[in-house]
């Protein structure tokens, strides 16, 4: 999975692309740490480029929600599609996360 950062005036845009699976754990964790250090006001995770997410990937979304939640930083999941959207629907993550299409 590729991770790119974009700092905007009122939020940090993190674009994820490729497959989001358990192998991405270390990189994802690093990204979360960077976010926390960079005085993030709001985080938008752009999932439009993700073609597949597994249960570990969903777990990582829970982790970032938890970490940002500790500092009251809002988190938005943006543009999930295909299999990702399906996974989010099945696990009712729309009840846990703010989802923007």
């Amino acid at each position: 999975m590729d991770i790119t950062f974009d700092k905007h005036s009122d939020h940090d845009l993190v674009k994820l692309s490729g497959r989001f699976t358990f192998v991405d754990h270390a990189a994802f964790k690093e990204m979360v740490e960077t976010l926390l250090k960079s005085d993030c006001q709001k985080c938008v995770l752009d999932l439009s480029g993700i073609e597949f997410v597994d249960s570990a990937g969903l777990g990582m979304l829970l982790i970032i929600k938890d970490e940002l939640g500790k500092k009251d930083i809002p988190l938005v999941l943006s543009k999930p599609s295909g299999q990702v959207e399906k996974m989010i629907k099945v696990s009712h993550f729309d009840q846990l996360f703010t989802i923007e299409s």
Partner: protein, 652 residues
């Protein structure tokens, strides 16, 4: 007595003749190949020849020569000791390679020793040493051919001085002045004061370092100046310093002591190993020459090793290994009966000793010979003459590796045992065949289940319960992650289900489970689960789901109902309200619950209708047939299943 030799080597023959005071053979009796001459002709003569093999040697010995002089560039890599022991005179080298291979010197020494006294034949020994040292100085660089060896007078004078030195230690300790320069020679010999002799190579660029090992062996100190291509060395008290075994040991010990600071660093490195004294390792030194065994033993003892065993030949080596099971073997290559290569091969063929570190010591330096040693199974090679710090470094590295491996293997074995214990414990939380049978009878249902863990411990579980309202409860759960932590969660769930058994509403049960599991589950971890009961009176399957796979119900009319399955996985939050679902379950229907290993394998990611699974289920009329059909379908698909597989079919 005459000196016989090949016509091409006239110069050397002359030199030998002069040194020995033995006339050269008449030219028509020059030796093209000793082996073609009749034995009688060579009896009691001096042969200057090029022996290439033990067979050559044996043949020549039949000629009963007084002295055989090896006059080629061949390395002495076969066993000379029998010939030497028989007293057939000495082999000495007039060429670079053999000159500074101390293999030769050791043969010489050993023979002297075997004869009872190193000085029994001082003339011969003087010649050997003279040649060795002179060659070491002059031919230090391999590849230089046919070099003028300095004047004959110079060589003789050197010999004379050496003789004096050997016979009179006092002289050796004082100044030895000797200088002989010959303008047209390539070499200048000059001797400075305080017993230091110097040889300077004129007009040559290559430093002569290759001879230093031999020089080191036979001098008490030496100095090499690369810039000016000079080697200076001194003999002090030759008799007691050089030629006694005791002195050799003392030299090695003091050499090691000088390297004290290097040793301290090694000790820090060794501290990686816990509770083990590497110096208690059992070492086996294999060498047919007592001198070599002594030297190696002294080196090792000086380092602190105190558990050293010996073998004198290959056969004994093999027997000793089986007897004492050493931690490391230092193995000579050239030995009688069974050589080092054979010992290596034998050890590697034996499962017990395949990993035994074997350090081969050899004078052979060609890459072909080295490859031969590695092919035979050597772990490492140390060249002769043995350099004490190189030997001890290699020994320590291999011993440490071996100890690390042993620790690692033991740790793995312990972990494996514990894992096996945990696996057995986990089996207990799954319904036993007896329990299943009891429930089948009690509820008049048929149950068929298949569970395949992809590794030892699993995060998947399934179960059957007689709930508080005496209905048949059923569940399938899948904890995220793998291994030990996922498995621990299954134990938690099992306990919780027992404590929460009074809750008869599946939706409430999932809510409670989630709340009770959350505190002990790390962020990012959760379980998908389906829990429900079969309501036989109302012909319904009443259940709640938290993101599990959609339960499938095959109705008696062969249609398949895909049940609702969405829900927030349990363990994430304590505040989730789950929906209670009711699905039709008339008599004869088959309920199928399963882990995502099945659906990921057989169905498309985007197909919520579970097309392929539904198609397969349509054809099944019993739980047993259902399970079999699904397993066959999984086998047929080429995907590798790397997740736990749970299949549970119940027919009402």
């Amino acid at each position: 007595m005459f000196v016989y030799g090949h016509k091409a080597n006239q110069k050397n023959l002359k030199l030998i003749s002069e040194c020995l005071g033995v006339p050269l053979a008449p030219s028509e009796k020059g030796l093209k190949n000793a082996l073609t001459l009749k034995p009688k002709e060579l009896e009691n003569q001096v042969l200057v020849t090029g022996i290439k093999s033990t067979q050559d040697l044996e043949l020549l010995l039949e000629f009963k020569p007084r002295l055989i002089i090896q006059d080629t560039a061949h390395s002495v890599d076969f066993d000379l000791s029998p010939a030497l022991l028989e007293g057939r005179g000495f082999f000495l080298s007039l060429s670079t390679e053999t000159a500074y291979k101390s293999e030769l010197a050791h043969y010489v020494y050993r023979t002297m020793e075997a004869r009872g006294h190193p000085y029994e034949d001082p003339d011969s020994l003087i010649i050997v040493l003279q040649e060795i040292i002179a060659n070491a100085i002059m031919y230090g660089n391999i590849g230089i051919e046919s070099i003028d060896r300095g004047s004959l007078e110079g060589m003789s004078a050197l010999e004379k001085k050496l003789t004096e030195a050997f016979e009179n230690p006092d002289i050796a300790q004082k100044h030895v002045t000797l200088s002989f320069n010959k303008e047209d020679s390539d070499y200048l010999f000059s001797v400075r004061d305080q017993g230091v002799w110097t040889a300077t190579k004129k007009n040559k660029e290559n430093p002569f370092l290759r001879g230093t090992s031999i020089v080191e062996e036979y001098t008490s100190s030496y100095f090499i100046d690369k810039a000016s291509s000079r080697v200076s060395f001194s003999f002090k008290n030759i008799q007691s310093e050089l030629l006694t075994r005791q002195k050799a040991q003392t030299e090695i010990t003091s050499y090691n002591e000088k390297e004290g600071s290097a040793e301290e660093e090694e000790d820090a490195f060794s501290s990686f190993l816990t509770n083990v004294d590497i110096y208690e390792s059992c070492l086996l030194v294999v060498d047919d020459l007592a001198f070599n065994r002594q030297i190696i033993s002294s080196i090792l003892k000086a380092k602190g090793f105190n558990n050293i065993h010996f073998a004198l030949d290959g056969q004994e080596a093999i027997e000793k290994v089986r007897d004492i099971n050493p931690d490391l073997m230092i193995l000579d290559l050239m030995m009688p009966k069974v050589d080092g290569y054979e010992v290596c091969r034998t050890m590697r063929q034996d499962k017990e000793y395949r990993k035994l570190p074997i350090i081969i010591q050899t004078a052979l330096e060609s890459s072909i010979d080295r490859n031969k040693a590695f092919t035979a199974g050597a772990t490492d090679i140390v060249t002769k003459p043995i350099n004490s710090s190189e030997l001890t470094s290699r020994v320590l590295i291999h011993l440490e590796n071996r100890l690390f491996m042993k620790e690692l293997t033991a740790y793995q074995a312990r972990l494996q045992e514990e894992l096996e214990g945990a696996v057995l414990m986990q089996k207990e939380i799954f319904p036993s065949p007896e329990k299943i049978k009891d429930l089948e009878t009690a509820f008049n249902v048929k149950v068929s289940a298949e569970f395949q863990a992809c590794s030892e411990l699993t995060g998947d579980m399934w179960g059957l319960i007689k709930d508080s309202k005496k209905r048949l409860g059923v569940y399938v759960a899948d904890f995220s992650g793998h291994g030990v932590s996922a498995a621990v969660n299954t134990f938690r769930l099992d306990s919780l289900l027992h404590t929460l058994s009074k809750i008869d509403c599946p939706a409430n049960l999932l809510h409670e489970l989630s709340a009770k599991l959350k505190p002990s589950m790390r962020p990012g971890h959760y379980a998908t689960m389906c829990y429900g009961y079969i309501d036989q009176e109302n012909e319904e399957f009443v259940y709640a789901a938290s993101g599990c796979t959609p339960p499938l119900i095959r109705l008696p009319d062969q249609s398949v109902h895909v049940c609702e399955n969405a829900g927030i996985p349990i363990g994430i939050s304590a505040d989730i309200t789950y929906t209670l679902h009711r699905a039709p379950f008339p008599k004869g229907s088959i309920l199928l619950l399963y882990s995502d290993a099945l659906s990921d394998n057989l169905c498309d990611l985007d197909d919520p209708t579970m097309g392929p699974l539904v198609a397969l289920l349509k054809t099944c009329t019993s739980p047993k047939e259902t399970i079999q059909t699904l397993l066959e379908a999984m086998k047929k698909s080429n995907d590798v299943v790397d997740d736990d597989l749970t299949l549970l079919a119940i027919q009402g």
